[in-house]
């Protein structure tokens, strides 16, 4: 039997796979690395076939499912849900229940905020600070939804509230577009992959960028000056989940995998390679030492309270955001 895993880079490190395969000798694990968009796109192309377990963020469940029908409901009875942090479980239930059926199960969570080389930009605390002329040519961003949302909050708007009102959302987007085009001259390059960001930060070519906390924690171990900044308006929180593709063929193996990775020692291994925090209770404490230190350095209690969990994205918004992002990219600085 083969378990075909469609997941993020780092979520299925080789050592974990080896341990899993040792425990279940009759299961082979194949891993395809991907990201949210590609996961949905791939599953759409296959009509939900080709993979047995996928790991999109909770925000990517509802719209994709109603549009393309690519997932199947998850049987929570086959999973030991008791080990999961209840807050996260509730969030997932809230955002990933369609017609009474639950479609996903939390796995890791993390936040999106700023990554800053504090030795070079000690006072960079919010999204709009990236546009500070002081850092002209010394910042980077990823031209995706995250930066839109972050900027919106920092500019005093709440995009989540406008999710169900396309017109209002468009209005927000228009303001963001102007702001980000204006901000463009500050940007050295828009990063497209973790590798590019790491290189930019480590080489010192860039002093700040928007980023996932996991990347920041990893870089912290390379250079302690590189810290994660949750921003004054609060970091954006995401939860990556387990979902079963509609035509997956190895559901049992998938459930086995889910239960397997929730074991504490495995959680540590995964957190080490992904940099993200596990959704199990006490996930933070199970982080490897260096990362835990970085997490504690980044998040005080206020910061945690200030987290903005990203809700499901309604269908159609993706297009509106996409165009704005395209315009920003196409604009000349």
């Amino acid at each position: 039997e083969t378990l075909r895993l469609l997941t993020w880079g780092g979520y299925a490190p080789d050592e974990v796979i080896a341990l899993f395969e040792k425990k279940y000798p009759d299961i082979d694990v194949e891993v395809t690395f991907s990201n949210n968009e590609e996961m949905v796109a791939k599953l759409r192309a296959t009509g939900g076939a080709g993979f047995d377990l996928a790991q999109p963020s909770v925000s990517r469940i509802k719209a994709a499912q109603s549009e393309y029908g690519i997932y199947k409901p998850i049987d929570i009875s086959k999973i030991d849900a008791s080990v999961i942090e209840p807050v996260l479980m509730d969030s997932v239930k809230k955002y990933a229940t369609i017609d009474g059926e639950l479609y996903s199960f939390p796995h890791q969570w993390g936040t999106q905020g700023l990554i800053v080389d504090v030795s070079k930009a000690p006072d960079l605390k919010g999204w709009t600070d990236l546009c500070d002329p002081k850092y002209s040519g010394r910042v980077s961003m990823r031209l995706k939804r995250g930066v839109l949302l972050g900027m919106a909050f920092d500019m005093g708007m709440n995009p989540f509230d406008a999710y169900d009102d396309p017109a209002a959302y468009q209005a927000i987007l228009d303001k963001l577009e102007a702001k980000l085009i204006d901000c463009k001259k500050n940007v050295k390059a828009y990063w497209t992959g973790g590798d590019m960001l790491s290189n930019l930060m480590l080489s010192g070519e860039v002093v700040a960028s928007d980023a996932w906390d996991s990347t920041a924690f990893k870089l912290y171990s390379q250079n302690p000056n590189i810290r994660f900044v949750p921003t004054r308006t609060g970091a954006l929180a995401w939860i990556d989940t387990f979902t079963l593709p509609a035509k997956g063929k190895a559901d049992d193996a998938a459930y086995k995998w889910i239960n397997f990775v929730n074991q504490p020692e495995i959680v540590t291994m995964i957190s080490k390679s992904s940099g993200a925090i596990s959704a199990v209770k006490g996930g933070k404490e199970l982080m490897p030492d260096a990362a835990r230190e970085a997490v504690n350095l980044a998040f005080d209690d206020a910061a945690i309270a200030n987290l903005k969990v990203m809700p499901s994205v309604p269908a159609g918004l993706e297009d509106m955001e996409g165009k704005v992002l395209d315009r920003i990219k196409a604009a000349s600085d």
């Binding site: 968009e37 759409r44 993706e318 990219k329």
Partner: protein, 302 residues
């Protein structure tokens, strides 16, 4: 007796044409399957998809709205124009770089070293686009090899960023495509009798005259073939502009990829694909018309 021989001959003739037809069918089938199933129908498929207009989740309508959408959004066609313009630029540069090299290989280098030089030219082909782009990144980034070398040599005081701008993209593209320019050029110029060039000089032509009036017209099919291939490769390339491109760089294939992958908008992606195909076909057709060549005689020359 004559009747017998006539009828025998006729059956013989029928037999012959029958085996001829059979072998024709046997040879035609794989060709037809290939072209039909992998080229024609899929193209029609995306053509069809591009005409699907999404009204609501899982509700579609047949229409041209996707194309209007494309026309109404300046970003999209600006990206297309930008892609086209850089592709043309790259094509011209590749020609400028490739022509002397090809000329050297085909006409100046000695017979023996020719194969070796040709092989050297193929070096970039040995590894994938990805590795090449990767190499350029290592070489050109602000803290990269090139910048460090320049600093070391004292030519510049500060590290310079050579990556993430259009010049880099153009250079990277030229790099990836130049040998597709060189190969057809070498093969046409190889067929050129040296005596033609010598005759050009003998009759009093200067270097420039010989180049302009003899070498270039002779190499025209190769030039056109090279330009077509290079242009298509550029317009269709993905990795190089994405990896080396700067913050303003939008590439049309990237746009297509995004429509398909990040926006799940297959309909728009298919529309873009059709537009790109139509556009590049138009460019190729225009190029052929302007130079008076035709596709079969240029691209398939060697």
């Amino acid at each position: 007796m004559p009747a017998v021989s006539v009828s025998r001959r006729r059956t013989d003739a029928v037999l012959r044409t029958d085996t001829g037809r059979l072998s024709l069918i046997l040879l035609f089938t794989p060709f037809a399957l290939w072209i039909l199933l992998l080229i024609v129908l899929p193209q029609i498929g995306i053509g069809y998809l591009s005409l699907q207009v999404k009204l609501a989740p899982r509700v579609y309508e047949f229409g041209l709205a996707n194309y209007f959408e494309f026309l109404n959004e300046p970003i999209y066609w600006n990206t297309l124009l930008r892609t086209a313009w850089i592709s043309v630029l790259v094509t011209v540069l590749a020609l400028l770089v490739g022509f002397p090299v090809a000329y050297y290989i085909a006409k100046i280098a000695r017979k023996r070293s020719r194969a070796a030089l040709f092989l050297l030219c193929l070096i970039p082909l040995w590894v994938s686009d990805l590795v090449r782009a990767f190499g350029w990144i290592l070489l050109l980034r602000e803290t990269g090899v090139f910048s460090s070398l320049l600093q070391g040599a004292g030519l510049i005081g500060e590290p310079v960023e050579l990556l993430y701008n259009d010049v880099t993209v153009v250079m990277g593209l030229v790099y990836t495509v130049v040998l597709f320019m060189i190969v057809p050029l070498v093969s046409t110029m190889d067929g050129m009798d040296n005596a033609l060039i010598e005759a050009g000089y003998n009759l009093g032509g200067s270097r420039f005259t010989v180049l302009r009036r003899i070498v270039i017209p002779y190499a025209m099919p190769g030039i056109v073939a090279g330009c077509i291939i290079v242009f298509m490769l550029c317009a269709g390339s993905y990795l190089t502009p994405v990896l080396l491109g700067g913050k303003n760089s939008m590439w049309f294939t990237e746009q297509i990829y995004q429509q398909f992958i990040t926006r799940y908008n297959w309909e728009a992606g298919a529309t873009f694909g059709c537009v790109l195909l139509a556009f590049t076909s138009l460019a190729v057709w225009l190029g052929l018309k302007l130079t008076g060549q035709n596709l079969a005689s240029t691209v398939a020359k060697d």
